[in-house]
Symmetry: C2
Subunit: 186 residues, 2 copies
């Protein structure tokens, strides 16, 4: 009966636009999916749960050139559940990051190898940042066109994207600093 975070993530995506499990799985596997990810093997069972909870319904659509598909839509109960969850108070979720576990143990490493590790992640986060910056222009255009309304899906996407940009920039800068720290000789 209890709906998971993934469940609510799916409800929101379906609220944005009715779609199939396949569509959802592509969205939640792309690097564009900023702060939650899932494989199709988790999504299909979750959709079944949401449906049996009465939060979504589906309609089978036959296609000529491709296999049949199930398009899911929110029910009134699903929309109500989403709206209640979205503003419910929440504790800070503690961050988990393997690179930072390695960093804690970096005093055991050869300096050159340690620097290479941080440089590699500096590059990875710079690439992710560039990707996000690319989306930003498109999203801001759409924002203007929709009259800057805050009750449309783009608004949530925009706030989330800006956090992604801010997060990646901060991470990249720290990696650069960390690389310098291990490289520098006194």
């Amino acid at each position: 009966m209890m709906t998971s975070t993934l469940g609510y993530a799916l409800l929101n995506l379906i609220a944005c636009e009715p779609q199939t499990g396949y569509d959802l799985s592509r969205t939640l596997q792309e690097r564009i999916s900023f702060f939650w990810q899932a494989k199709h093997s988790q999504i299909y069972p979750e959709l079944a749960k949401l449906e049996s909870a009465g939060f979504i319904t589906h309609e089978v659509v036959r296609q000529n050139d491709k296999p049949d598909k199930k398009i899911y839509t929110l029910t009134d109960a699903g929309l109500a559940a989403l709206r209640a969850w979205v503003v419910a108070p929440l504790e800070m979720s503690p961050a988990r990051d393997e690179l930072l576990v390695k960093t804690a143990a970096i005093w055991q490493a050869d300096p050159a190898q340690a620097a290479a590790l941080f440089r590699d992640h500096e590059r990875q986060h710079a690439e992710q940042l560039a990707l996000y910056e690319g989306i930003r222009a498109t999203l801001e255009e759409e924002w203007e066109r929709s009259g800057r309304r805050r009750d449309l899906p783009w608004f949530g996407s925009y706030l989330t994207l800006m956090r992604g940009i801010s997060y990646e920039r901060e991470y990249r800068d720290w990696c650069r600093w960390a690389a310098e720290m291990v490289e520098t000789r006194d």
Copy 2:
């Protein structure tokens, strides 16, 4: 046979100082434990795994005023495993954060309630930041006293702490901005 991230985190803590499962569980539950957490129910079995893999050994110490305890120490194999893992290349670990899932759905929320949510998290992250800033002074003193050496545990702690500070500052600022975005009327 495969050692998990938690396993390596434990190896590093034991490399810093031989200690008991109870000690480790307190470290990994405190908010000071920046980027990985674990309960004792996960730590005790993991220590058993590490021991059967030959990475650690323990010595039972009897205490008069408290129950007996097992003090774990790294073996040569454990140290070698830790050193190999620490510099092994690693993919960016995708971030997971429930607040950002809510943010994606924030277009469904009442603006005042949404603002309260962001203000609340702005406060939570500001508090965490203040906590980290407090530790910073102590750690930097110890750094000076140890001659700024990069082959001692404090170095890993220092790099990790600085990332914690940077992360919390960035998060706090974004929360403030998000609150302003939902509060502002055009």
